[in-house]
């Protein structure tokens, strides 16, 4: 060996000088898609992280996972998750996911979309998929406005909240998403904020292996639009806002326990209003026949009758 080589070997190489920080979710994220498009302080990435951790924890086989989304900031999660991922048209993620599930019932299908995509453009798909108890885990990132297009008001914008299209305050009454989901037949309904990272992860882990229509609402900051227009401030300030207002359903606050039966699915009092308590938690956890099971039963019955005829 020449002295020069010895000298070279004693120095860290270019690769060694570059610090390698492995992302804990590297194996389930797509490195080639990063950096993501979300704004600083946005809550969608937190929700995606909790979702991926939840599925890992639930032991859902990776090759069986399918994510379907629509259009909007929240729908961009499909680009970052290393799984079968379909970015479909505006509001149509649920029908697309229904097709995926029916074509191959062994798949674990999750729908990810924002409040506008899922409840304005695709609202009808949501209520009918829940009514039919379609085997889907449906995640709505609710940031109370249309973030990607400039902060317009949407179906979940709280009353009196300011958006770019309601500069004097929203005079419409918003949907209460868990109440809607419970009323139309969802078997699992929960709401958390992106402040509740671990609870959210556990919620996904609990909902993922269940059958039927499961709905998880995730309240997420949109500091550049909703937060700014409503004097909430940065993403961190909105987390602080959640911390001050959150109350967990069924906790010491004296709120009822999760609904086990549809007849008692009354979630009155969980409406979201500006600067009013935000009720989070698991609201509904019940079982009823799923679409996939009912469909398989009808097919089996038909086949049996054909055979005996």
């Amino acid at each position: 060996m020449t002295p020069e080589t010895v000298e070279d070997a004693s120095r860290p190489t270019e690769a060694e000088r570059t610090p390698v920080r492995r992302h804990p979710l590297e194996s389930v994220l797509r490195g080639d898609a990063l950096p993501h498009i979300w704004c600083p302080g946005c809550g969608i990435g937190v929700a995606l992280g909790a979702f991926l951790q939840g599925l890992e924890r639930a032991g859902i086989p990776r090759e069986k996972r399918v994510i379907v989304s629509g259009i909007g900031c929240s729908s961009r999660v499909v680009y970052y998750a290393r799984t079968d991922a379909y970015h479909t048209t505006h509001g149509r993620a649920i029908p697309f996911a229904t097709g995926v599930k029916l074509a191959n019932p062994s798949l674990h299908v999750t729908v990810f979309a924002g409040d506008g995509d899922m409840f304005a453009i695709g609202g009808n798909h949501f209520i009918h998929a829940a009514r039919r108890n379609m085997d889907l885990m449906v995640v709505c990132i609710n940031n109370f406005n249309y973030g990607m297009t400039g902060g317009q008001s949407g179906p979940t914008t709280p009353h009196d909240a300011r958006t770019t299209t309601t500069p004097n305050g929203n005079f419409e009454i918003p949907f209460n998403l868990p109440q809607l989901a419970a009323a139309v037949g969802a078997v699992y309904v929960a709401r958390w904020t992106t402040l509740d990272v671990r609870r959210l992860r556990d919620c996904f882990a609990e909902a993922a292996p269940k059958q039927g229509f499961r709905f998880v609402e995730v309240l997420a900051p949109c500091p550049v639009s909703f937060g700014k227009n409503n004097d909430i401030g940065s993403g961190l300030d909105e987390m602080d806002y959640y911390r001050g207002l959150e109350q967990i359903w069924g906790s010491a606050a004296g709120l009822p326990a999760p609904v086990e039966r549809r007849e008692t699915g009354d979630l009155a009092g969980t409406d979201i209003s500006l600067h009013r308590p935000i009720i989070v938690g698991k609201f509904v956890d019940r079982a009823r026949p799923t679409f996939t099971d009912s469909y398989a039963a009808v097919v089996a019955k038909g086949r049996a009758e054909k055979k005996s005829a």
Binding site: D32, E63, T89, L107
Partner: protein, 259 residues
Amino acid sequence: MQARFGSHGDYAVIAYAPSSPQEAFDLTIEAFSAAERLRTPVLVMMDEVVGHMRERVIIPEEGRRTVSSRRLPSVAPSEYRPYRVGDDLVPEMALAGGGFAVRMTGLTHDESGRAVTNPTAQAALLPRLLKKVLENREVYERYEVRQTDDAEVLVVAYGITGRAATGAVEMARARGLRVGMFRPRTVWPFPADALLRAARSARRVVVAEINMGQVALEVERLLAGKCSVVRVTSPGGSVIAPERILEACGRAREVAARR
């Protein structure tokens, strides 16, 4: 027209227009084949009459229907790119759950399915999406031609109006008028060459359709002044009667004779 211009951007899809319940059944099977083969949406467009019609339909036995399938990946998952174009303009398409971790999107994308919204990516993507349909158009063009060999007047009609046109042709022939018919069953891509062949001996073309003239625009464009086009239109609400088409054939003939 809705199938062709329903968006401000460009696209090419296949659209079928059946004239009967049997054809609706047959073309729906073809539509699945075309969609699988070309990886594109396919429309089966029934007008109100065909949509409400009850007629005998012969359903072939299971196993006798053939539906083409998409081309599945020929490479390992690590090598697979959902939008990589090989010797064919249509990329191979993996099934969900096959371990391929496919990423598919409606946004402008690169071959791996990443959203790349810039003019360069768009310039690479859009022409291919058009080409894959247009270069294969003859495979998917369906049409009916009736008594065109010696026709002086050619009637062009589709959907339920195609059946009225069939009646008009029969009535015309019974009166010794040389009238033929061209009925596109694929309305987009419009079977251009087939129309020009059918219109070879025609001096006048009558286009009958239940609207104020949509496919007539395409026919006029294709004939490019070779012979004049008479429109039989209707604002809707009822079927165009064969007599109206026959009358238009007569008028067209008179106009042709005066020249």
